[in-house]
């Protein structure tokens, strides 16, 4: 637990965090509770070196603190840097802790620091430039329970992501999902670390929802629309994220309501290029599932009355509720009402319907004649 981690987690000024750590150490030591706490301090001061006065800032272990203090001519500051249960061999865990916590709070890294800079305001973006949306939701503080337990940030990350992903409704399904989404989130984080974690979480959320529906309507490929919807939600154009998401969530269906036309317009170009990429890369994978799906669909439709053709099979129902937007990928679109923009999709759909009709006709005939199976 470093002071910075504590400060971000509890939302306090860094100096207060340092004092809290010190207080904690003192209290524990006074209680003599037996649990050995190892403390590292930050020591800063002047040192005479090579003939000139050098300012030295060092993280030292408690046992070396006095030795370092004696080396310094004047001490500028001393405070608790971190507390841990185990004796640290070197300072890399400290660095990792800080790195992780700062990464998840990149947009607000100066919020708890002791210096405020009036000049550090985000630039108003010109039309061509792309700037992160200034009004991001503040960093979600970890659940206090998770924090106080002193689990390292990686462990703390797991549950919060699950919490966020589970949006109440999908508790059961999402139990299976977090692994995927966790992996996805990790993949996204790796592929687009430039995007702050706050922004990667809404897509994670959407992906989980999409996954839920996606499993039921498994092979509905709306690869391009997945990046669209989260992006539109955020009103931020992040082509890198869009690039990452098609690869990471091939089996999701786009279910986001509420299109935003403006970002959609600006993303036309991106969309088209990405669907092409997505199509190319995913085509091979999806051939088989598509066939399977086709078979499934036909069976389903055969089982239902011929008049039920218009009646969309249950799985894609949720899709229908959301207005579909993007250009179609060939396999998908029987469920899409003619509300879909491309005429080719409608044409394909009609063709398929024709095929199905004829088959059904034949089957019906066969049924009349006798069961053929």
């Amino acid at each position: 637990v470093t002071y910075k981690w504590l400060s971000y987690t509890l939302g306090v000024h860094v100096n207060q965090a340092k004092q809290m750590l010190y207080d904690y150490v003192e209290r524990k030591r006074r209680e003599n509770s037996g649990a050995q706490l190892h403390v590292t301090y930050l020591l800063a001061g002047n040192l005479l070196q090579n003939g000139h006065v050098c300012h030295k800032v060092a993280v030292v272990r408690e046992d070396k603190l006095e030795a370092m203090k004696s080396k310094l001519a004047t001490i500028a500051s001393v405070h608790v840097y971190s507390i841990q249960k185990a004796l640290l061999k070197d300072s890399s865990p400290l660095y990792n802790t800080d790195y992780d916590i700062v990464k998840t709070n990149l947009q607000h890294c100066s919020k708890f620091s002791a210096i405020r800079c009036a000049a550090a305001v985000p630039r108003t973006p010109p039309d061509a430039a792309r700037a992160p949306a200034p009004a991001r939701s503040p960093p979600r503080h970890r659940d206090p329970d998770a924090a106080v337990n002193g689990h390292g940030p990686p462990a703390a990350k797991g549950p919060p992501q699950q919490h966020r992903g589970i949006m109440g409704m999908f508790a059961a399904k999402a139990a299976a999902k977090p692994q995927d989404t966790h992996k996805e989130a990790k993949a996204e984080a790796k592929e687009a670390p430039g995007v702050s974690a706050a922004s990667s979480k809404p897509p994670t959320k959407n992906n989980i929802m999409n996954n839920f529906f996606g499993k039921a309507a498994m092979n509905k490929l709306k690869v391009s629309s997945v990046p669209e919807q989260p992006k539109e939600e955020k009103e931020v154009v992040k082509p890198s994220v869009a690039g990452a998401e098609p690869e990471s969530s091939p089996n999701t269906a786009a279910e986001k309501p509420g299109k935003k036309t403006e970002p959609a317009r600006t993303q036309q170009k991106d969309k088209k290029s990405k669907t092409k990429r997505a199509d190319r890369s995913d085509d091979e994978e999806e051939r088989d599932p598509e066939n399977v799906k086709k078979k499934r669909k036909r069976i389903k439709q055969l089982q239902s009355d011929s008049s039920d053709e218009e009646d969309v099979p249950p799985s894609p129902t949720p899709e229908e509720e959301r207005a579909p937007s993007p250009p179609p990928v060939p396999a998908l679109k029987t469920e899409l009402e003619p509300a879909s923009t491309e005429g080719s999709a409608a044409g394909r759909k009609r063709k398929r319907k024709r095929v199905l009709k004829s088959k059904m006709f034949i089957d019906e005939e066969e049924g009349c004649m006798g069961k053929t199976g």
Binding site: D90, S92, L94
Partner: protein, 461 residues
């Protein structure tokens, strides 16, 4: 300077939580103007020969040198061009120096690989006792000998030599001089303590991660998270951070894509991509708290030739959103709070180091200042843009702070000139190796190194 102010409240944070801790506002930037326009190239055309630079350089520095020569050796000395030389006459000639070095890497030698000769390996220094100095002006050249230090000087320097031509066609030098320090700029520095942090050689993307904690400590200190209250209030006086080059480490310069076949390298990213992302995060942390100037260096993703153009904004999406980030050229010149800064990322100094007997980076830095030119070896051994109208590396004004990045260690010196110039020379050490940055106090032109350290398995000091 830093520490004395901070000392009283040093132990203040070893206490139970107190009331609302103070936050210090960052000292606002009062005067900043970027003077590095000469180093910014507009549209570039490489269809010109490099000879024009030398011509322009000589033409640009000749008047100053002639003036210096007169002041040094008397008003009545004869200033001659090489074509007007007469044997035995004492005169002064102004020209460009050329050092004929045997070990100098030459493209012709590389071509001679066809003859199965071993190509020359890179050496730390290319000087040899058999090197010779030749003075050239617009039309002729002549060999120099005499009271001139052959080992110390490098190609491309403009100087004035005083002597006479011998019968065998060589010029016997009795004395020589450079442009020297230029007249001082008026001093309008701040009256209170203002600091500028100089750091270079962050070396992100390297395989070893030891420097990362140091980098994080540096960022923490500047943004005010580290240290007790006294130190934090001192850190609030840091008005600017200048990162002088080599933000990425040499390891990111992987040449795999050139050597390996395309199908092997298809899915691999260049190592610099990760490093740039790390850099973006670090810069974001800094930019939210302090104005930052980022200069490119030898291993940074920008052009190789001097003057290096600023890194492109699209590589740093997070940090570029802030107005406090400034991406600037290498070399860089700016007026900060009335103090003129001039500096490079170190390529010019290290190049001179290779071709001269001078070993000390600070000495070389001082020498370039006296020679009146930032990088005399520029087209010869250091990549340079073929200027033809004017040579922007000629020093036209005397800076107050002259720095170079990526030096092996920290050194600083306050140079006092005859006409009252005060120049602070700083060699900024390589942070990834030394974990040291420099803090320059603008009020009195002093410099203090700051070292950061964590502890390792064998923490000794």
């Amino acid at each position: 300077m830093f520490s004395e102010q901070a000392a009283p409240t040093a132990q203040g944070l070893l206490a139970p939580p107190s009331a609302e801790p103070p936050t210090f506002p960052r000292v606002p930037v009062s005067g900043y103007s970027d003077c590095s326009q000469p180093f910014q190239l507009g549209e570039r055309s490489f269809s010109r020969q490099y000879a024009h630079i030398y011509a322009v350089r000589l033409a640009g520095m000749r008047p100053g040198l002639e003036q210096r020569a007169r002041s040094q050796w008397g008003n009545d000395i004869a200033l001659r061009k090489l074509s007007e030389l007469q044997a035995g006459e004492k005169c002064c000639v102004v020209g460009t120096l050329f050092k004929a070095m045997q070990l100098q890497p030459s493209i012709l030698q590389e071509i001679s690989e066809e003859h199965n000769l071993v190509p020359q390996p890179p050496l730390p220094k290319y000087i040899q006792p058999s090197d010779e100095l030749i003075l050239e002006d617009e039309l002729q050249r002549i060999k120099l000998e005499g009271a001139i230090d052959v080992q110390k000087l490098v190609t491309g320097t403009i100087l004035a030599v005083y002597g006479s031509e011998q019968d065998d066609g060589r010029f016997l030098v009795e004395d020589h001089c450079f442009t020297g320090l230029l007249p001082p700029l008026p001093w309008t520095g701040p009256s209170s303590d203002r600091f500028v942090l100089l750091a270079s050689g962050l070396g992100l993307g390297s395989v070893s991660g030891e420097a990362l904690l140091g980098t994080q400590l540096l960022v923490d200190m500047v943004t005010g998270q580290l240290g007790a209250e006294g130190e934090q209030s001192c850190a609030a006086h840091i008005t600017r951070v200048i990162l002088a080059g080599n933000l990425l480490s040499q390891n990111t310069q992987s040449r795999d894509t050139i050597n390996k076949a395309k199908y092997l390298t298809k899915k691999t990213q260049a190592a610099s991509v990760e490093a740039v992302k790390m850099l973006d995060e670090i810069l974001l942390q800094l930019c939210t708290s302090v104005p930052v100037d980022v200069m490119p260096g030898e291993f940074d993703p920008t052009n190789y030739t001097l003057p290096q153009q600023p890194l492109h904004r699209c590589m740093l999406p997070l940090a570029s959103a802030f107005a406090t980030l400034r991406l600037v050229t290498n070399p860089y010149q700016a007026n900060l709070d009335g103090v003129r800064f001039l500096g490079t990322s170190g390529q010019n100094i290290s190049d001179i180091f290779k071709y001269s007997s001078m070993d000390d980076y600070l000495e070389i830095l001082e020498w370039t200042l006296l020679a009146g030119h930032i990088s005399p070896t520029a087209p010869d051994t250091l990549g340079c843009y073929p200027f033809y109208k004017s040579d922007p590396f000629i020093l036209t004004e005397c800076p107050h702070v002259y720095f170079c990045g990526n030096a092996p260690h920290f050194q600083s010196k306050l140079l006092q000139g005859k006409e009252g110039q005060r120049v602070l020379l700083v060699t900024v050490p390589d942070f990834s190796a030394t974990q040291t940055a420099c803090l320059v106090n603008l009020r009195d032109l002093t410099c203090q190194p700051i070292t950061f350290s964590g502890f390792g398995a064998d923490s000794e000091d």
